[in-house]
Amino acid sequence: MTLPGLELPGRLNEFAVVFVSIVLQSLPFVLIGVFASGLVQQFLSAETLVRWLPRSRLGVVVLASTFGFAAPVCDCGVIPLARRFGAKGVPAYAATAFIVGAPVVNPVVLLSTAFAFQGSWAITGLRMGMTLSVAIAVGLAASALPAGRAGLVAGGEVGGEDLSAPRGLRALVSTATDEFFDVIFFVILGALFTAAAQTFVPRGDLAALGAHPALSVLALMPVATLLSICSEADAFVARAFAATFSTGAILAFMAIGQIVDLRNGFLLFRTLRPRLTALVVLLSYALVFAEGWLINTAMAR
C-alpha cells in the first residue's frame, strides 16, 4: 500500500528514522513495565512485600540486584516497576540496586548475550558478574546515604498503598495508563537526544584506541551511554566492536550502557534524588572502568 507522505533529506531522514524506531522499540517494554507496576499495585500489599524482605541490608541489596530473574524487565521497563516498589515501602537503596541490576541480570538478556557471542558463556558470565557487582556496590553505598538524600523524589513517587482503590481489569488499565503518561515524556526526550547523538556525533576515530587496556574501556563507556541501546539488543552491537576493541571494553560497554544511558537518564533523574543519582552515575562509571581495565590486564598476562 502506498501512502502520501514526506521525504526528508539524508541526515534528517536518519535522525527521524532512528528517533521513531527508538520510540517504537521502547513502547512494548514500557507497557510491560507499567502493567507489571499495575499488577504489583493491585496484588502485592506493602505489608507482604516488606515481610518478604531479608532482615540484613546486604540481603536486601543482593535480592534486589538479582530480582531481574523473577521480573525480567529491560531498561525501559525497570524504572516504573522500581518506582512502584518504592511506593510500596521497599527501601530506596533496594529499588536503586534493582534499577542497576535488573536490565542485565535477567534470563532474557543473558540468553541474548550468549546468542550474540556465539554461545560464549565466559562473556555472558563476566557481563552478569560485572553488572551484579556494580548493582550490589551501588545498593550498599546508597544504603549508607542519609535517608533524606537517598529516597525517591517527590515527583517520582506514584500512588502508594490504597486499600479502598478499585481492582480488576479496568483499574489495572487505568493505573497503567496513568503511569505510561508519567514516564513516556522522559522516554521520548531520551529517544530524541539519543537519535541526535547517534546521527550527529562523530565516532570514527575510536577504533584507534581499541587495543589499549585502559583507554579502550574509557572510549567505549561514553559511547554506550550515548547510544542507549536496549539491554536485549546491545550485545549484538558490542559483538561488532569485538574485532577492534579489548574484551574489557566490550564488557564495560554492555555494563554501563544499561546503568547510565541517555535514553533513560532523564527518567532516572526524575525518579531518584540528586545525591542518589550522582552516586549511581559516578560509582557505576568508576567501578565499570576499574573492572574493565582489570579484565584487560588479567587477559594480557
Binding site: M1, T2, L3, G5, L6, E7, G10, R11, N13, E14, A16, V17, V18, F19, V20, S21, I22, V23, L24, Q25, L27, P28, L31, A116, G155, V158, G159, A165, R170, A171, V173, S174, T175, T177, D178, E179, F180, F181, D182, F185, I188, L189, L192, A195, Q198, T199, P202, R203, G204, D205, A207, L227, I229, C230, E232, A233, D234, F236, V237, A240
Partner: protein
C-alpha cells in the same frame, strides 16, 4: 471536585485516549504501508503488533472512562507538565505518520570510514572448513545468502558465482575500479544497526551512482591488502535497484 475541574480532567483523558489510539494507528499504518521494516527487525513484528493492539485498547478504555467520569489513580502531574508531555509525545507520532522513511545510509556510519569495515576472510581456516567442499546448498542470490556461504565455506567459497544487494559507497583507500557494498544488520531496531561492507571490483564504475542501492553480480574472490585477505566480488554487472522491502540483515550476521 468542582464541575470545571471535572470537565478539565475529562478532556485530558480524551486527549490521552486520542494519543494512545494515535500510537495504535501509527503501528497499523507502518504495517499496512510496509514501512515497519525501515524501523524494526521483522522478528519483532508480533510484539509490535501486540503493542499496537494494547495501546488501542488502552486508548478506547481511557476515552470510555472519561465519559463515565472515572477518576485516574495517582496521576499527579501539573497541567503545564501534562501539556509538555502531550506536545513531546505528538512529535514521534506525527513524524511516524507523515514520514516516508528510507533505510539508513552511509551517514549512519558516524564518520567511520567504510574501508575499515570491509569484510575479510579468517586468517587461518579451521580444519573443518578446509575439508568441506565449497559448493553452497542453494544459489547465492542475495547478501544474506552470500554471508551464509562465507560463514560455511570461508575462503574455499572463492570462485563461486554470487549476487548481492547494498548501497554503493566510495571510500578513501579504494582503487578507481573499486567500491564498498554497504548493508546494516539490526537486532531490534535501527538504533542498534551494525554496518557490514563487501569490497566490489568492477571494470567500469563510472555508471554507478554513489550512496544508492545497487545489485552486483559476479564471482567471489580474494584481494590481499596490508596482510589481510578481503572478501571481494569481482563484478561483471552492477545495476541500480530500488531500496529492498527488507533493507536490513538480521542479527545472525
Amino acid at each position: 471536585m468542582t464541575a470545571s475541574v471535572e470537565r478539565r480532567g475529562s478532556r485530558a483523558r480524551v486527549l490521552r485516549g486520542g494519543i494512545l489510539l494515535g500510537f495504535a494507528a501509527l503501528v497499523a499504518k507502518l504495517f499496512a504501508a510496509g514501512q515497519m521494516s525501515r524501523y524494526m527487525a521483522p522478528a519483532l513484528d508480533p510484539l509490535t503488533a501486540l503493542t499496537g493492539v494494547a495501546l488501542g485498547v488502552m486508548g478506547a478504555m481511557e476515552i470510555a472512562g472519561s465519559r463515565r467520569r472515572e477518576r485516574g489513580h495517582g496521576h499527579s502531574s501539573e497541567p503545564f507538565e501534562q501539556l509538555l508531555t502531550y506536545v513531546l509525545v505528538l512529535l514521534p507520532l506525527g513524524l511516524g505518520l507523515v514520514l516516508i522513511p528510507r533505510a539508513l545510509g552511509p551517514g549512519a556510519l558516524g564518520g567511520e570510514s567504510v574501508a575499515r569495515l570491509l569484510l575479510a576472510y579468517a586468517p587461518d581456516p579451521t580444519p573443518s572448513q578446509r575439508a568441506r567442499p565449497p559448493a553452497p546448498s542453494r544459489p547465492v542470490a542475495d547478501t544474506a545468502d552470500l554471508l551464509r556461504l562465507l560463514r560455511e565455506a570461508g575462503m574455499a567459497g572463492a570462485g563461486q558465482r554470487v549476487r548481492a544487494t547494498g548501497l554503493a559507497v566510495r571510500a578513501g583507500g579504494l582503487g578507481a575500479d573499486e567500491f564498498a557494498l554497504l548493508r546494516y544488520a539490526i537486532a531490534h531496531c535501527v538504533a542498534d544497526a551494525r554496518p557490514l561492507a563487501l569490497l566490489v571490483s568492477a571494470p567500469d564504475t563510472r555508471e554507478v551512482t554513489w550512496d544508492r542501492w545497487v545489485e552486483v553480480e559476479g564471482v567471489l574472490a580474494v584481494s590481499e591488502r596490508d596482510g589481510t585477505s578481503l572478501v571481494t566480488i569481482a563484478a561483471d554487472r552492477v545495476r541500480p535497484v530500488p531500496e529492498p522491502a527488507e533493507p536490513y540483515l538480521g542479527s545472525a550476521f
